[in-house]
Symmetry: C2
Subunit: 299 residues, 2 copies
């Protein structure tokens, strides 16, 4: 079996993923684990990584480039945030820690003083997108639990804004009075589009439109497919209203899970704002490869 | 011990409360229980009520006037909604069910076709306020898990709108990434007022302002008192932005838990909209007394 020349790692809160890479930055093997930051203590990181890579580890020293929650205060070793405006993270800003044969380079997150904001992990996806699109000047939106809107220009992360819409969707659909109304995974494109437009036109009424989903089910028997799409559309519409200064008139790229990216793409398209979609795993790996390159050839 | 001439009951989702009343509508005794709709099955209602009243029950037949979730589809017996515009509920619209010696009159909730909305229990608080303020023409706001804004005119409930702000506050403060940032019960009036103004001015940015509470804690060590007040202020501010057509230029009354009513009062006052506060338990009892009066003297 071919051994890793170096290791690329994306260490999230609930999961982690590692790639054994060859000297030409090709993937030899990809491995997953549910040993995310939330499940382990700081002293467990070296063992989790070594066990996961197993026989892919070479006999001698090996470098690992790590992004994500491993660098959080409650992670492996804290990698303090780099403040915007800044270049994407590189080896120069990484925190190095030796773990047996593995020399781990933990990439920092990015912070913004005003308004206060932070990201950890997304900066590497951004770096990957910028590496693949070196002349990109515009806005990268990273939909997810905490969706980021990021203004990128001249190779720098200029500013960003995080929206909790994804987490609010999860709480409302899973634990609120709406949970029965939106049960299952049904969908209605029409209800989604209407709700996006509705929330953008009258953002203040969000909490009333949400309750109306429940009342509409009680009074009119409206189905869970329509209700679920409406809930999603209201939250994404509210976000698009708030993020308008980011996306209006900009070149837009979406980096995230494909189904969610397609929802954002559809909502933006209805506003006359076309957006391209890039695969989030590819972008993460490209960002880690770009950071590794700065180890070999410091900038 | 004096026996009940009739019984007034407010049967909620998580709790219920019953009053033994004399023939002059004075309270003989008040009793509480955690046997709310969510904890019991339909066949358990008669036993729960009889056990709670115990020795207060007279030897012969007795009437009970009941509002709230006992009339929900999953309650004791469904009392279908009365549609707005309508008078407050009376015996004429109640659903009667005999349970041993108790003749129970379950009051209906109120519904609205467009936009779809429902209330169950609040209509009796409204009836109580209208009984105590017979010439009231304006807006009654009932802050709570699902806050209601209700337009009342010429003795009728004309229209209403429900906002889920209270439930969203509970989910975000108890279970979201913000839960550590807002832990405890600290408070800052200044942070609350600023957040109300901020959300009213830019309602679309709600989900970003929420995440900013977390980032502000991480980057600047902002305390939980400020964070908690800001979370509350953002949600109430968003609601006031959406409910503006209800309260602007209207006579406003707040009926709910006193601490929450005072927050709404303070937020409204900053908008130049004075509001009076009425005690929610008093209003509920007054509403049940008014409904009982229609049994004795049908309208």
């Amino acid at each position: 079996m071919q051994k890793a020349d170096w290791i690329a790692v994306d260490w999230g809160t609930s999961h982690m993923r590692a790639w054994a890479m060859d000297a030409q930055d090709k993937v030899i093997a990809e491995r997953h684990s549910d040993r995310g930051m939330g499940q382990i203590t700081p002293d467990q990181y070296p063992g989790v990584l070594a066990d996961l890579m197993g026989e892919l580890l070479p006999d001698g020293p090996v470098q690992a480039i790590i992004c994500g929650m491993a660098g959080a205060r409650q992670g492996w070793v804290e990698a303090p945030y780099t403040a915007v405006p800044c270049n994407p993270p590189s080896a120069a800003t990484a925190v190095q820690v030796q773990a047996g044969q593995i020399a781990a380079f933990i990439l920092p997150g990015v912070s913004q003083a005003s308004p206060p904001d932070v990201m950890r992990g997304e900066e590497t996806q951004i770096a990957g997108f910028m590496a693949a699109n070196s002349k990109f000047d515009g806005v990268i939106c990273l939909p997810g639990t905490h969706t980021k809107w990021v203004h990128v220009s001249a190779g720098e992360i200029v500013s960003f804004q995080t929206f909790m819409s994804g987490e609010i969707f999860a709480l409302l659909s899973g634990q609120s009075v709406l949970r029965h109304s939106v049960a299952g995974d049904g969908w209605s494109d029409e209800a989604f589009a209407e709700a996006v437009a509705d929330a953008m036109a009258r953002p203040g009424t969000l909490a009333a439109k949400l309750f109306s989903i429940r009342a509409d089910g009680l009074l009119n028997g409206t189905g869970a497919d329509v209700a679920r799409a409406r809930l999603s559309g209201l939250l994404i519409g509210l976000e698009l209203a708030g993020a308008r200064p980011y996306w209006l008139g900009q070149d837009i790229a979406l980096v995230g899970a494909a189904p969610l990216c397609r929802l954002y793409q559809s909502a933006l398209s209805a506003q006359g704002a076309p957006a391209r979609i890039a695969d989030v795993t590819e972008m993460t790996l490209a960002g880690l490869i770009a950071a590794h390159a700065t180890l070999k050839d410091p900038q």
